[in-house]
Protein backbone atom coordinates (compact mmCIF):
# COMPACT_ATOMS: atom_id res chain seq x y z
CA UNK A 1 0.00 0.00 0.00
CA UNK A 2 1.34 3.29 -0.96
CA UNK A 3 1.62 5.86 1.73
CA UNK A 4 1.41 9.48 0.80
CA UNK A 5 3.25 11.98 2.91
CA UNK A 6 0.02 13.80 3.58
CA UNK A 7 -3.12 12.13 4.56
CA UNK A 8 -6.15 12.71 2.34
CA UNK A 9 -7.48 14.90 5.07
CA UNK A 10 -4.37 17.01 4.93
CA UNK A 11 -4.29 17.20 1.12
CA UNK A 12 -7.76 18.57 0.85
CA UNK A 13 -7.39 20.88 3.81
CA UNK A 14 -8.78 24.05 2.39
CA UNK A 15 -7.04 26.27 4.85
CA UNK A 16 -3.61 24.95 4.01
CA UNK A 17 -4.18 25.14 0.26
CA UNK A 18 -5.26 28.77 0.58
CA UNK A 19 -2.18 29.49 2.61
CA UNK A 20 0.10 28.07 -0.08
CA UNK A 21 -1.78 29.93 -2.80
CA UNK A 22 -1.55 33.18 -0.87
CA UNK A 23 2.19 32.73 -0.51
CA UNK A 24 2.53 32.13 -4.23
CA UNK A 25 0.30 35.09 -5.06
CA UNK A 26 2.27 37.39 -2.83
CA UNK A 27 5.61 36.25 -4.20
CA UNK A 28 5.17 37.97 -7.56
CA UNK A 29 4.29 41.44 -6.18
CA UNK A 30 7.12 41.10 -3.66
CA UNK A 31 9.57 40.47 -6.49
CA UNK A 32 8.16 43.40 -8.49
CA UNK A 33 8.19 45.69 -5.46
CA UNK A 34 11.75 44.61 -4.72
CA UNK A 35 12.79 45.40 -8.27
CA UNK A 36 11.02 48.75 -8.20
CA UNK A 37 12.69 49.56 -4.88
CA UNK A 38 16.06 48.77 -6.41
CA UNK A 39 15.41 50.93 -9.47
CA UNK A 40 13.91 53.82 -7.49
CA UNK A 41 16.62 53.81 -4.84
CA UNK A 42 19.80 52.82 -6.56
CA UNK A 43 19.22 53.64 -10.25
CA UNK A 44 16.88 56.61 -9.85
CA UNK A 45 19.24 59.21 -11.34
CA UNK A 46 20.08 57.14 -14.38
CA UNK A 47 16.50 56.42 -15.36
CA UNK A 48 15.04 59.83 -14.56
CA UNK A 49 17.71 61.63 -16.59
CA UNK A 50 17.14 59.20 -19.44
CA UNK A 51 13.39 59.90 -19.38
CA UNK A 52 13.86 63.66 -19.19
CA UNK A 53 16.31 63.61 -22.05
CA UNK A 54 13.84 61.75 -24.22
CA UNK A 55 11.06 64.20 -23.43
CA UNK A 56 13.18 67.30 -23.90
CA UNK A 57 14.64 65.95 -27.12
CA UNK A 58 11.13 65.60 -28.46
CA UNK A 59 10.04 68.96 -27.14
CA UNK A 60 13.12 70.65 -28.56
CA UNK A 61 11.10 70.76 -31.76
CA UNK A 62 8.93 73.32 -30.03
CA UNK A 63 10.74 76.44 -31.09
CA UNK A 64 8.12 78.93 -32.12
CA UNK A 65 8.97 81.54 -34.71
CA UNK A 66 7.39 84.88 -35.51
CA UNK A 67 6.49 86.23 -38.90
CA UNK A 68 8.44 88.48 -41.23
CA UNK A 69 6.16 90.99 -42.93
CA UNK A 70 6.50 93.84 -45.37
CA UNK A 71 5.89 97.44 -44.35
CA UNK A 72 2.15 97.09 -45.08
CA UNK A 73 1.73 93.88 -43.09
CA UNK A 74 1.87 91.39 -45.98
CA UNK A 75 3.32 88.13 -44.70
CA UNK A 76 6.66 87.36 -46.30
CA UNK A 77 7.63 84.39 -44.12
CA UNK A 78 5.64 82.32 -41.65
CA UNK A 79 6.26 79.02 -39.90
CA UNK A 80 3.76 76.22 -40.22
CA UNK A 81 3.85 73.11 -38.08
CA UNK A 82 4.46 70.08 -40.21
CA UNK A 83 5.89 66.57 -39.88
CA UNK A 84 8.50 64.38 -41.43
CA UNK A 85 7.85 60.68 -41.99
CA UNK A 86 10.58 58.16 -41.27
CA UNK A 87 10.85 54.36 -41.20
CA UNK A 88 12.57 52.17 -38.63
CA UNK A 89 13.19 49.17 -40.83
CA UNK A 90 13.29 46.45 -38.20
CA UNK A 91 9.79 47.25 -36.86
CA UNK A 92 8.08 47.11 -40.26
CA UNK A 93 5.95 43.99 -40.51
CA UNK A 94 5.14 43.90 -44.20
CA UNK A 95 7.69 45.84 -46.22
CA UNK A 96 5.86 45.77 -49.55
CA UNK A 97 2.49 46.75 -48.14
CA UNK A 98 3.99 49.60 -46.11
CA UNK A 99 5.94 50.93 -49.09
CA UNK A 100 2.86 50.70 -51.32
CA UNK A 101 0.77 52.57 -48.75
CA UNK A 102 3.42 55.30 -48.31
CA UNK A 103 3.85 55.69 -52.06
CA UNK A 104 0.13 56.23 -52.47
CA UNK A 105 -0.31 58.51 -49.46
CA UNK A 106 2.79 60.61 -50.01
CA UNK A 107 2.25 60.65 -53.78
CA UNK A 108 5.75 59.53 -54.59
CA UNK A 109 7.08 56.60 -56.63
CA UNK A 110 7.42 53.34 -54.73
CA UNK A 111 10.77 52.80 -56.43
CA UNK A 112 12.14 55.91 -54.77
CA UNK A 113 11.16 54.59 -51.32
CA UNK A 114 12.63 51.19 -52.13
CA UNK A 115 15.93 52.79 -53.11
CA UNK A 116 16.06 54.66 -49.82
CA UNK A 117 15.20 51.45 -47.99
CA UNK A 118 18.10 49.62 -49.62
CA UNK A 119 20.59 52.38 -48.88
CA UNK A 120 19.64 53.00 -45.22
CA UNK A 121 20.97 50.57 -42.62
CA UNK A 122 18.27 51.04 -39.94
CA UNK A 123 16.30 54.25 -40.34
CA UNK A 124 15.56 56.72 -43.11
CA UNK A 125 13.25 59.65 -43.80
CA UNK A 126 10.72 58.94 -46.50
CA UNK A 127 9.39 62.48 -46.80
CA UNK A 128 9.71 65.80 -45.04
CA UNK A 129 7.36 68.77 -44.69
CA UNK A 130 4.23 66.63 -44.89
CA UNK A 131 1.05 68.64 -45.29
CA UNK A 132 -1.65 68.33 -42.56
CA UNK A 133 -4.07 66.21 -44.61
CA UNK A 134 -1.38 63.68 -45.42
CA UNK A 135 -0.28 63.69 -41.80
CA UNK A 136 -3.82 62.76 -40.72
CA UNK A 137 -3.85 59.80 -43.11
CA UNK A 138 -0.53 58.57 -41.75
CA UNK A 139 -1.44 59.20 -38.12
CA UNK A 140 -4.60 57.11 -38.52
CA UNK A 141 -2.68 53.97 -39.48
CA UNK A 142 0.07 54.38 -36.88
CA UNK A 143 -1.61 51.94 -34.48
CA UNK A 144 -2.35 49.33 -37.13
CA UNK A 145 0.05 46.67 -38.36
CA UNK A 146 0.58 48.72 -41.53
CA UNK A 147 1.91 51.61 -39.48
CA UNK A 148 4.42 49.57 -37.53
CA UNK A 149 7.87 51.08 -37.92
CA UNK A 150 6.59 54.46 -39.15
CA UNK A 151 7.73 57.54 -37.27
CA UNK A 152 6.17 60.98 -37.59
CA UNK A 153 8.50 63.66 -36.28
CA UNK A 154 7.17 67.17 -35.73
CA UNK A 155 9.04 70.00 -37.44
CA UNK A 156 8.37 73.40 -38.96
CA UNK A 157 8.19 74.58 -42.51
CA UNK A 158 8.94 78.22 -43.25
CA UNK A 159 6.55 79.31 -45.95
CA UNK A 160 7.01 82.28 -48.24
CA UNK A 161 3.66 83.15 -49.85
CA UNK A 162 5.34 85.31 -52.48
CA UNK A 163 7.83 82.65 -53.48
CA UNK A 164 11.41 83.78 -53.84
CA UNK A 165 10.45 87.46 -53.59
CA UNK A 166 12.86 89.27 -51.22
CA UNK A 167 14.29 85.93 -50.16
CA UNK A 168 17.81 87.34 -50.33
CA UNK A 169 16.79 89.82 -47.62
CA UNK A 170 14.57 87.48 -45.58
CA UNK A 171 17.07 84.62 -45.48
CA UNK A 172 16.43 81.08 -44.34
CA UNK A 173 15.54 79.15 -41.21
CA UNK A 174 15.77 75.42 -40.65
CA UNK A 175 13.09 72.85 -39.78
CA UNK A 176 13.81 73.45 -36.08
CA UNK A 177 12.80 77.09 -36.61
CA UNK A 178 16.29 78.49 -36.14
CA UNK A 179 17.36 81.43 -38.32
CA UNK A 180 20.29 80.64 -40.58
CA UNK A 181 20.79 83.72 -42.74
CA UNK A 182 19.49 87.18 -43.63
CA UNK A 183 16.89 88.87 -41.42
CA UNK A 184 15.96 85.43 -40.08
CA UNK A 185 19.40 85.20 -38.50
CA UNK A 186 19.83 88.90 -37.68
CA UNK A 187 16.67 88.87 -35.57
CA UNK A 188 16.69 85.24 -34.49
CA UNK A 189 16.50 86.21 -30.82
CA UNK A 190 13.40 88.35 -31.34
CA UNK A 191 11.75 86.01 -33.83
CA UNK A 192 12.13 82.69 -32.07
CA UNK A 193 11.66 81.23 -28.66
CA UNK A 194 12.42 77.76 -27.40
CA UNK A 195 9.33 76.90 -25.37
CA UNK A 196 10.08 73.22 -24.81
CA UNK A 197 11.10 73.77 -21.18
CA UNK A 198 8.12 76.02 -20.60
CA UNK A 199 5.73 73.47 -21.98
CA UNK A 200 7.29 70.58 -20.13
CA UNK A 201 6.31 71.06 -16.49
CA UNK A 202 7.16 68.97 -13.49
CA UNK A 203 4.09 68.19 -11.41
CA UNK A 204 3.91 67.05 -7.79
CA UNK A 205 5.29 63.54 -7.67
CA UNK A 206 8.05 64.28 -10.15
CA UNK A 207 6.23 63.49 -13.39
CA UNK A 208 6.78 65.69 -16.43
CA UNK A 209 3.64 66.79 -18.16
CA UNK A 210 3.37 68.49 -21.52
CA UNK A 211 1.23 71.59 -21.68
CA UNK A 212 0.34 72.67 -25.17
CA UNK A 213 -1.65 75.71 -24.12
CA UNK A 214 1.18 78.12 -23.55
CA UNK A 215 0.99 79.94 -26.84
CA UNK A 216 -0.30 83.19 -25.36
CA UNK A 217 2.54 83.35 -22.85
CA UNK A 218 5.26 83.34 -25.44
CA UNK A 219 7.25 86.44 -26.34
CA UNK A 220 8.02 85.85 -29.99
CA UNK A 221 7.94 89.00 -32.08
CA UNK A 222 6.96 89.77 -35.65
CA UNK A 223 9.50 91.67 -37.73
CA UNK A 224 8.24 94.24 -40.24
CA UNK A 225 10.62 95.18 -43.03
CA UNK A 226 10.65 98.54 -44.78
CA UNK A 227 10.30 96.55 -48.02
CA UNK A 228 7.02 97.08 -49.87
CA UNK A 229 6.13 93.78 -51.53
CA UNK A 230 4.52 95.46 -54.55
CA UNK A 231 7.57 97.69 -55.11
CA UNK A 232 9.74 94.62 -54.64
CA UNK A 233 7.69 92.78 -57.27
CA UNK A 234 8.19 95.55 -59.82
CA UNK A 235 11.92 95.75 -59.08
CA UNK A 236 12.29 91.98 -59.42
CA UNK A 237 10.28 91.87 -62.63
CA UNK A 238 12.32 94.64 -64.26
CA UNK A 239 15.55 93.01 -63.14
CA UNK A 240 14.45 89.55 -64.35
CA UNK A 241 13.75 90.97 -67.81
CA UNK A 242 17.18 92.66 -67.89
CA UNK A 243 18.84 89.43 -66.79
CA UNK A 244 17.08 87.55 -69.56
CA UNK A 245 18.11 90.10 -72.18
CA UNK A 246 21.66 90.93 -71.10
CA UNK A 247 22.72 87.91 -69.02
CA UNK A 248 24.84 89.68 -66.40
CA UNK A 249 26.79 87.74 -63.75
CA UNK A 250 25.08 89.74 -61.02
CA UNK A 251 22.31 92.31 -61.07
CA UNK A 252 20.94 94.62 -58.40
CA UNK A 253 17.90 96.90 -58.24
CA UNK A 254 17.58 99.00 -55.12
CA UNK A 255 14.85 101.50 -54.26
CA UNK A 256 15.07 103.93 -51.35
CA UNK A 257 12.91 106.73 -50.00
CA UNK A 258 15.35 109.67 -49.87
CA UNK A 259 13.57 111.53 -47.08
CA UNK A 260 13.49 108.61 -44.63
CA UNK A 261 16.32 106.38 -45.84
CA UNK A 262 13.90 103.41 -45.90
CA UNK A 263 14.76 100.75 -48.45
CA UNK A 264 11.47 99.77 -50.08
CA UNK A 265 12.79 97.26 -52.62
CA UNK A 266 16.04 95.35 -52.92
CA UNK A 267 16.23 92.82 -55.71
CA UNK A 268 19.32 90.76 -56.45
CA UNK A 269 20.30 88.31 -59.13
CA UNK A 270 21.10 85.51 -58.58
CA UNK A 271 18.78 85.11 -55.60
CA UNK A 272 20.38 83.32 -52.68
CA UNK A 273 18.83 82.98 -49.22
CA UNK A 274 20.08 85.78 -47.02
CA UNK A 275 22.69 87.00 -49.47
CA UNK A 276 21.56 90.42 -50.57
CA UNK A 277 23.92 91.90 -53.12
CA UNK A 278 22.59 95.34 -52.21
CA UNK A 279 24.72 95.14 -49.06
CA UNK A 280 27.34 92.55 -49.90
CA UNK A 281 28.38 93.34 -53.46
CA UNK A 282 31.39 95.63 -53.87
CA UNK A 283 32.45 97.20 -57.13
CA UNK A 284 34.21 100.14 -58.68
CA UNK A 285 31.33 102.50 -59.46
CA UNK A 286 32.80 104.28 -62.47
CA UNK A 287 30.90 107.29 -63.76
CA UNK A 288 28.04 107.19 -61.23
CA UNK A 289 30.72 108.33 -58.78
CA UNK A 290 31.39 111.51 -60.76
CA UNK A 291 28.32 112.92 -59.02
CA UNK A 292 30.14 112.63 -55.69
CA UNK A 293 33.32 114.32 -56.95
CA UNK A 294 31.43 117.15 -58.68
CA UNK A 295 29.07 117.73 -55.73
CA UNK A 296 32.04 117.83 -53.35
CA UNK A 297 33.90 120.32 -55.52
CA UNK A 298 30.87 122.61 -55.83
CA UNK A 299 30.23 122.38 -52.08
CA UNK A 300 33.87 123.18 -51.31
CA UNK A 301 33.64 126.24 -53.58
CA UNK A 302 36.34 124.95 -55.92
CA UNK A 303 34.05 125.06 -58.94
CA UNK A 304 30.62 126.37 -59.87
CA UNK A 305 28.23 124.85 -62.41
CA UNK A 306 29.42 127.50 -64.84
CA UNK A 307 33.12 126.64 -64.51
CA UNK A 308 34.66 125.63 -67.82
CA UNK A 309 37.03 122.66 -67.84
CA UNK A 310 39.69 122.51 -70.54
CA UNK A 311 39.69 119.14 -72.31
CA UNK A 312 43.37 119.20 -73.41
CA UNK A 313 42.40 118.07 -76.89
CA UNK A 314 40.54 115.13 -75.37
CA UNK A 315 43.88 113.44 -74.61
CA UNK A 316 44.91 114.35 -71.10
CA UNK A 317 48.42 113.23 -70.17
CA UNK A 318 48.00 112.77 -66.46
CA UNK A 319 51.37 111.25 -65.73
CA UNK A 320 54.09 109.08 -67.22
CA UNK A 321 52.31 106.49 -69.32
CA UNK A 322 48.87 107.58 -68.13
CA UNK A 323 46.63 109.26 -70.67
CA UNK A 324 42.92 109.80 -70.18
CA UNK A 325 40.83 110.05 -73.34
CA UNK A 326 37.32 111.31 -74.01
CA UNK A 327 36.07 109.70 -77.20
CA UNK A 328 32.43 110.58 -76.79
CA UNK A 329 32.67 114.28 -77.74
CA UNK A 330 34.79 116.67 -79.73
CA UNK A 331 34.66 119.78 -77.56
CA UNK A 332 37.72 121.68 -76.35
CA UNK A 333 36.10 122.72 -73.07
CA UNK A 334 33.09 121.59 -71.09
CA UNK A 335 31.01 123.25 -68.43
CA UNK A 336 30.32 121.19 -65.31
CA UNK A 337 26.81 120.08 -66.44
CA UNK A 338 28.37 119.07 -69.79
CA UNK A 339 31.06 117.07 -67.99
CA UNK A 340 28.23 115.12 -66.38
CA UNK A 341 25.98 114.92 -69.45
CA UNK A 342 28.81 113.60 -71.63
CA UNK A 343 30.30 111.65 -68.73
CA UNK A 344 33.74 113.11 -69.32
CA UNK A 345 36.53 111.33 -67.47
CA UNK A 346 38.90 114.20 -68.22
CA UNK A 347 36.45 116.70 -66.73
CA UNK A 348 35.76 114.62 -63.60
CA UNK A 349 39.47 113.83 -63.16
CA UNK A 350 40.43 117.49 -63.39
CA UNK A 351 37.69 118.48 -60.94
CA UNK A 352 38.96 115.85 -58.48
CA UNK A 353 42.49 117.27 -58.79
CA UNK A 354 41.17 120.80 -58.26
CA UNK A 355 39.50 119.63 -55.05
CA UNK A 356 42.65 117.87 -53.85
CA UNK A 357 43.08 114.47 -52.19
CA UNK A 358 42.42 115.50 -48.60
CA UNK A 359 39.13 117.27 -49.31
CA UNK A 360 37.94 114.66 -51.78
CA UNK A 361 38.71 111.90 -49.27
CA UNK A 362 36.91 113.83 -46.56
CA UNK A 363 33.78 114.24 -48.72
CA UNK A 364 33.86 110.59 -49.82
CA UNK A 365 33.94 109.50 -46.18
CA UNK A 366 31.30 112.07 -45.28
CA UNK A 367 28.95 110.55 -47.89
CA UNK A 368 29.36 107.24 -46.03
CA UNK A 369 31.69 105.36 -48.39
CA UNK A 370 34.17 103.00 -46.75
CA UNK A 371 31.88 102.56 -43.75
CA UNK A 372 29.20 99.97 -43.04
CA UNK A 373 25.70 101.38 -42.93
CA UNK A 374 23.50 101.09 -39.85
CA UNK A 375 21.43 98.44 -41.60
CA UNK A 376 24.08 96.02 -40.33
CA UNK A 377 22.98 93.30 -42.73
CA UNK A 378 24.79 90.00 -42.29
CA UNK A 379 27.94 89.99 -44.36
CA UNK A 380 27.57 93.65 -45.27
CA UNK A 381 30.71 95.01 -46.83
CA UNK A 382 32.25 98.34 -45.93
CA UNK A 383 33.83 98.73 -49.35
CA UNK A 384 37.29 100.19 -49.67
CA UNK A 385 38.42 103.80 -49.66
CA UNK A 386 42.22 103.98 -49.40
CA UNK A 387 43.56 106.78 -47.21
CA UNK A 388 44.43 109.95 -49.14
CA UNK A 389 47.99 109.90 -47.71
CA UNK A 390 48.88 107.17 -50.17
CA UNK A 391 47.19 108.73 -53.20
CA UNK A 392 49.26 109.72 -56.18
CA UNK A 393 48.10 112.38 -58.65
CA UNK A 394 46.71 109.61 -60.82
CA UNK A 395 44.85 108.10 -57.83
CA UNK A 396 43.39 111.51 -57.02
CA UNK A 397 42.14 112.02 -60.59
CA UNK A 398 40.77 108.48 -61.09
CA UNK A 399 38.79 108.69 -57.85
CA UNK A 400 36.94 111.56 -59.53
CA UNK A 401 35.42 109.19 -62.06
CA UNK A 402 34.97 106.23 -59.76
CA UNK A 403 38.07 104.07 -60.10
CA UNK A 404 40.45 102.94 -57.34
CA UNK A 405 37.60 102.77 -54.88
CA UNK A 406 35.19 99.97 -53.95
CA UNK A 407 31.68 100.70 -52.80
CA UNK A 408 28.44 98.86 -52.07
CA UNK A 409 25.09 99.61 -53.76
CA UNK A 410 23.51 100.73 -50.49
CA UNK A 411 26.30 103.28 -49.95
CA UNK A 412 25.84 104.76 -53.42
CA UNK A 413 22.05 104.96 -53.22
CA UNK A 414 22.29 106.63 -49.80
CA UNK A 415 24.71 109.21 -51.26
CA UNK A 416 22.32 110.00 -54.14
CA UNK A 417 19.45 110.15 -51.64
CA UNK A 418 21.46 112.73 -49.68
CA UNK A 419 21.54 114.94 -52.79
CA UNK A 420 17.80 114.36 -53.32
CA UNK A 421 17.23 115.18 -49.63
CA UNK A 422 18.72 118.69 -49.89
CA UNK A 423 22.19 117.55 -48.83
CA UNK A 424 21.30 115.61 -45.67
CA UNK A 425 22.51 112.00 -45.45
CA UNK A 426 19.88 109.75 -43.87
CA UNK A 427 20.42 106.47 -42.07
CA UNK A 428 19.25 103.66 -44.38
CA UNK A 429 16.70 101.28 -42.85
CA UNK A 430 15.64 97.78 -43.70
CA UNK A 431 13.63 97.02 -40.56
CA UNK A 432 10.52 99.12 -40.02
CA UNK A 433 9.41 97.82 -36.62
CA UNK A 434 9.36 94.84 -34.31
CA UNK A 435 6.02 94.01 -32.72
CA UNK A 436 5.97 91.96 -29.53
CA UNK A 437 2.91 89.95 -28.43
CA UNK A 438 2.37 92.16 -25.37
CA UNK A 439 1.68 95.06 -27.73
CA UNK A 440 5.09 96.65 -27.39
CA UNK A 441 6.34 98.10 -30.68
CA UNK A 442 10.01 98.73 -31.20
CA UNK A 443 10.09 101.27 -34.03
CA UNK A 444 13.35 100.94 -35.89
CA UNK A 445 12.78 103.01 -39.01
CA UNK A 446 12.62 106.46 -37.51
CA UNK A 447 14.15 108.95 -39.95
CA UNK A 448 17.62 109.62 -38.58
CA UNK A 449 19.85 112.31 -40.06
CA UNK A 450 23.45 111.14 -40.06
CA UNK A 451 24.93 114.46 -41.10
CA UNK A 452 24.63 117.27 -43.59
CA UNK A 453 26.99 116.38 -46.40
CA UNK A 454 26.24 119.22 -48.80
CA UNK A 455 24.71 122.66 -48.42
CA UNK A 456 21.17 123.05 -49.75
CA UNK A 457 22.49 125.27 -52.55
CA UNK A 458 24.94 122.59 -53.66
CA UNK A 459 22.23 119.93 -53.52
CA UNK A 460 19.94 122.14 -55.63
CA UNK A 461 22.72 122.72 -58.15
CA UNK A 462 23.43 118.99 -58.32
CA UNK A 463 19.74 118.20 -58.83
CA UNK A 464 19.74 120.50 -61.88
CA UNK A 465 22.97 119.00 -63.22
CA UNK A 466 21.70 115.43 -62.77
CA UNK A 467 18.37 116.38 -64.32
CA UNK A 468 20.26 117.69 -67.36
CA UNK A 469 22.04 114.33 -67.64
CA UNK A 470 18.66 112.62 -68.07
CA UNK A 471 17.17 115.28 -70.32
CA UNK A 472 20.15 116.01 -72.55
CA UNK A 473 22.91 113.57 -71.68
CA UNK A 474 23.64 109.87 -71.37
CA UNK A 475 20.61 109.10 -69.20
CA UNK A 476 17.88 109.93 -71.75
CA UNK A 477 16.37 106.44 -71.52
CA UNK A 478 15.41 107.10 -67.90
CA UNK A 479 13.04 109.91 -68.88
CA UNK A 480 9.45 109.52 -67.67
CA UNK A 481 6.64 111.51 -69.24
CA UNK A 482 5.33 114.13 -66.82
CA UNK A 483 8.14 113.81 -64.28
CA UNK A 484 11.48 115.49 -63.80
CA UNK A 485 14.08 112.77 -63.42
CA UNK A 486 17.67 113.24 -62.20
CA UNK A 487 20.39 110.64 -62.44
CA UNK A 488 23.76 109.53 -63.72
CA UNK A 489 24.84 106.62 -65.84
CA UNK A 490 27.97 104.54 -65.27
CA UNK A 491 29.94 102.07 -67.36
CA UNK A 492 33.00 100.90 -65.46
CA UNK A 493 35.61 98.51 -66.75
CA UNK A 494 36.42 95.68 -64.38
CA UNK A 495 39.82 94.70 -63.11
CA UNK A 496 41.26 91.64 -64.75
CA UNK A 497 43.48 89.03 -63.14
CA UNK A 498 46.67 90.71 -64.34
CA UNK A 499 45.82 93.88 -62.41
CA UNK A 500 44.81 95.97 -65.41
CA UNK A 501 41.32 96.78 -66.68
CA UNK A 502 39.53 94.30 -68.93
CA UNK A 503 38.01 95.91 -72.00
CA UNK A 504 35.19 93.40 -72.31
CA UNK A 505 34.33 93.04 -68.62
CA UNK A 506 32.38 95.89 -67.16
CA UNK A 507 29.68 97.10 -64.79
CA UNK A 508 26.77 99.06 -66.26
CA UNK A 509 24.80 101.14 -63.79
CA UNK A 510 22.39 103.99 -63.30
CA UNK A 511 21.43 105.86 -60.15
CA UNK A 512 18.80 108.56 -59.97
CA UNK A 513 15.77 109.98 -58.23
CA UNK A 514 12.28 111.10 -59.16
CA UNK A 515 10.47 113.53 -59.14
CA UNK A 516 13.16 116.20 -58.82
CA UNK A 517 10.77 118.80 -57.32
CA UNK A 518 9.93 116.53 -54.38
CA UNK A 519 11.99 113.31 -54.58
CA UNK A 520 10.06 110.21 -53.56
CA UNK A 521 12.27 107.41 -54.88
CA UNK A 522 15.97 106.97 -55.38
CA UNK A 523 16.67 103.97 -57.60
CA UNK A 524 19.98 102.26 -58.32
CA UNK A 525 20.50 99.66 -61.03
CA UNK A 526 23.74 97.69 -61.27
CA UNK A 527 24.45 95.10 -63.98
CA UNK A 528 27.69 93.28 -63.38
CA UNK A 529 29.45 92.08 -66.50
CA UNK A 530 26.54 91.62 -68.93
CA UNK A 531 27.22 88.98 -71.59
CA UNK A 532 26.10 91.46 -74.23
CA UNK A 533 28.26 94.58 -74.02
CA UNK A 534 26.06 97.40 -72.85
CA UNK A 535 26.33 100.84 -71.30
CA UNK A 536 24.73 102.31 -68.21
CA UNK A 537 22.66 104.60 -70.39
CA UNK A 538 21.36 101.89 -72.70
CA UNK A 539 21.03 98.96 -70.29
CA UNK A 540 20.53 100.31 -66.75
CA UNK A 541 18.63 103.57 -67.35
CA UNK A 542 15.60 101.83 -68.97
CA UNK A 543 15.34 99.54 -65.92
CA UNK A 544 15.21 102.66 -63.73
CA UNK A 545 12.24 103.82 -65.79
CA UNK A 546 10.53 100.42 -65.66
CA UNK A 547 10.72 100.42 -61.87
CA UNK A 548 9.94 104.11 -61.31
CA UNK A 549 6.79 104.22 -63.46
CA UNK A 550 4.66 101.72 -61.51
CA UNK A 551 5.96 103.10 -58.20
CA UNK A 552 4.90 106.64 -59.12
CA UNK A 553 1.49 105.30 -60.13
CA UNK A 554 1.09 103.19 -57.00
CA UNK A 555 2.02 105.98 -54.60
CA UNK A 556 -0.03 108.49 -56.52
CA UNK A 557 2.87 110.89 -57.01
CA UNK A 558 1.69 113.95 -58.92
CA UNK A 559 3.57 114.92 -62.12
CA UNK A 560 5.98 117.88 -61.74
CA UNK A 561 6.58 118.58 -65.41
CA UNK A 562 4.44 119.85 -68.23
CA UNK A 563 3.18 117.10 -70.46
CA UNK A 564 3.74 117.87 -74.14
Amino acid sequence: MIRYPYSSRNVFDMKKRMYVLMKLALLCPIIIIGRLFYIQTFRHEEYSSKAERTIYDYLAQDRLRGKILDVNGRILAESVRTHSCGISKRYVKDKDKTIAFLAETLEMPAEQIKKKWQKAPKFFFVAKKIKPDTYMKLANIMRTSLGQGLELTPEYERLHPYGSSALDIIGASNSKNKGLSGVEQMFNEELSQDISRKRAKRVRGGDIIYDRNLKEKTKIANVYLTIDEVAQYHAEQALAKAVEDLQPEHAIALVQEPKTGNIIAAASYPVKDGQSLAFQFTYEPGSTFKTIAVASAIDAGVITPETSIDMDGRNWHLGPGVTIRDKQHNKDALTVPEVMQLSSNIGAGKIALMLGPKKLFSYIKSFGFGTKTDVNFNGESRGSVPSYNAWTKVDNATKGYGYGIAITPVQLISAYSAIANDGVLMEPHLIDRIEYPNGKIDKKAKPVQIRRVLSKNTADAMKKILQSVVEEGSGKRARITGYQVAGKTGTAEKLNQEGGYAKRKHVASFCGFVPVSDPQFTILIVLDNPAKYSFGGTAAAPIFKQIAQPLLALKGVAPDKEIP
Binding site: R81, L159, P161, G482
Partner: protein, 87 residues
Protein backbone atom coordinates in the same frame (compact mmCIF):
# COMPACT_ATOMS: atom_id res chain seq x y z
CA UNK B 1 -12.09 33.39 6.44
CA UNK B 2 -11.32 36.87 7.67
CA UNK B 3 -8.00 36.76 5.82
CA UNK B 4 -9.75 35.67 2.66
CA UNK B 5 -12.19 38.56 2.90
CA UNK B 6 -9.28 40.92 3.59
CA UNK B 7 -7.46 39.58 0.53
CA UNK B 8 -10.54 40.03 -1.62
CA UNK B 9 -11.00 43.57 -0.33
CA UNK B 10 -7.35 44.32 -1.13
CA UNK B 11 -7.77 42.90 -4.64
CA UNK B 12 -10.92 44.96 -5.14
CA UNK B 13 -9.08 48.09 -3.96
CA UNK B 14 -6.19 47.51 -6.37
CA UNK B 15 -8.63 46.73 -9.15
CA UNK B 16 -10.41 50.01 -8.47
CA UNK B 17 -7.14 51.95 -8.56
CA UNK B 18 -6.15 50.23 -11.78
CA UNK B 19 -9.55 50.95 -13.30
CA UNK B 20 -9.31 54.64 -12.36
CA UNK B 21 -5.82 54.84 -13.89
CA UNK B 22 -7.03 53.22 -17.07
CA UNK B 23 -10.00 55.60 -17.23
CA UNK B 24 -7.75 58.62 -16.67
CA UNK B 25 -5.29 57.45 -19.29
CA UNK B 26 -8.09 56.80 -21.76
CA UNK B 27 -9.60 60.26 -21.34
CA UNK B 28 -6.08 61.73 -21.42
CA UNK B 29 -5.51 60.04 -24.73
CA UNK B 30 -8.79 61.40 -26.01
CA UNK B 31 -7.87 64.93 -24.94
CA UNK B 32 -4.46 64.51 -26.54
CA UNK B 33 -6.05 63.23 -29.76
CA UNK B 34 -8.42 66.17 -29.85
CA UNK B 35 -5.58 68.63 -29.21
CA UNK B 36 -3.60 67.07 -32.02
CA UNK B 37 -6.60 67.28 -34.27
CA UNK B 38 -7.02 70.97 -33.40
CA UNK B 39 -3.33 71.56 -34.13
CA UNK B 40 -3.62 69.85 -37.48
CA UNK B 41 -6.70 71.85 -38.38
CA UNK B 42 -4.95 75.04 -37.33
CA UNK B 43 -1.97 74.10 -39.52
CA UNK B 44 -4.29 73.32 -42.44
CA UNK B 45 -6.02 76.65 -41.94
CA UNK B 46 -2.64 78.40 -41.89
CA UNK B 47 -1.65 76.69 -45.14
CA UNK B 48 -4.90 77.80 -46.75
CA UNK B 49 -4.48 81.39 -45.55
CA UNK B 50 -0.97 81.48 -46.97
CA UNK B 51 -2.24 80.00 -50.22
CA UNK B 52 -4.82 82.80 -50.42
CA UNK B 53 -1.99 85.29 -49.86
CA UNK B 54 0.05 83.67 -52.61
CA UNK B 55 -2.84 83.73 -55.05
CA UNK B 56 -3.67 87.35 -54.27
CA UNK B 57 -0.04 88.47 -54.50
CA UNK B 58 1.21 90.62 -57.39
CA UNK B 59 3.22 87.69 -58.80
CA UNK B 60 -0.03 85.89 -59.64
CA UNK B 61 -2.61 88.66 -59.98
CA UNK B 62 -0.75 91.02 -62.35
CA UNK B 63 0.28 88.42 -64.99
CA UNK B 64 -3.20 86.84 -64.79
CA UNK B 65 -4.93 90.20 -65.21
CA UNK B 66 -2.69 91.06 -68.15
CA UNK B 67 -3.24 87.73 -69.86
CA UNK B 68 -6.92 87.10 -69.19
CA UNK B 69 -8.44 90.49 -68.46
CA UNK B 70 -6.38 92.65 -70.78
CA UNK B 71 -4.90 94.80 -68.02
CA UNK B 72 -2.79 97.65 -69.33
CA UNK B 73 -0.67 99.38 -66.73
CA UNK B 74 -1.31 103.07 -67.00
CA UNK B 75 1.51 105.58 -67.20
CA UNK B 76 1.72 107.49 -63.90
CA UNK B 77 1.06 110.93 -65.41
CA UNK B 78 -2.32 109.67 -66.65
CA UNK B 79 -3.51 108.82 -63.16
CA UNK B 80 -5.47 111.38 -61.20
CA UNK B 81 -5.29 110.77 -57.48
CA UNK B 82 -8.24 112.23 -55.61
CA UNK B 83 -8.16 113.11 -51.93
CA UNK B 84 -4.45 112.49 -51.56
CA UNK B 85 -4.24 115.07 -48.77
CA UNK B 86 -6.73 113.11 -46.66
CA UNK B 87 -4.81 109.90 -47.10
Amino acid sequence: MKKLIGLLALCAFFFLITFIHVAINRSGRNVSRLQRSVEIKEARNQYLELEILRLSGPQIVIPYAKEHLGLIESEPHKIVVLGKQER
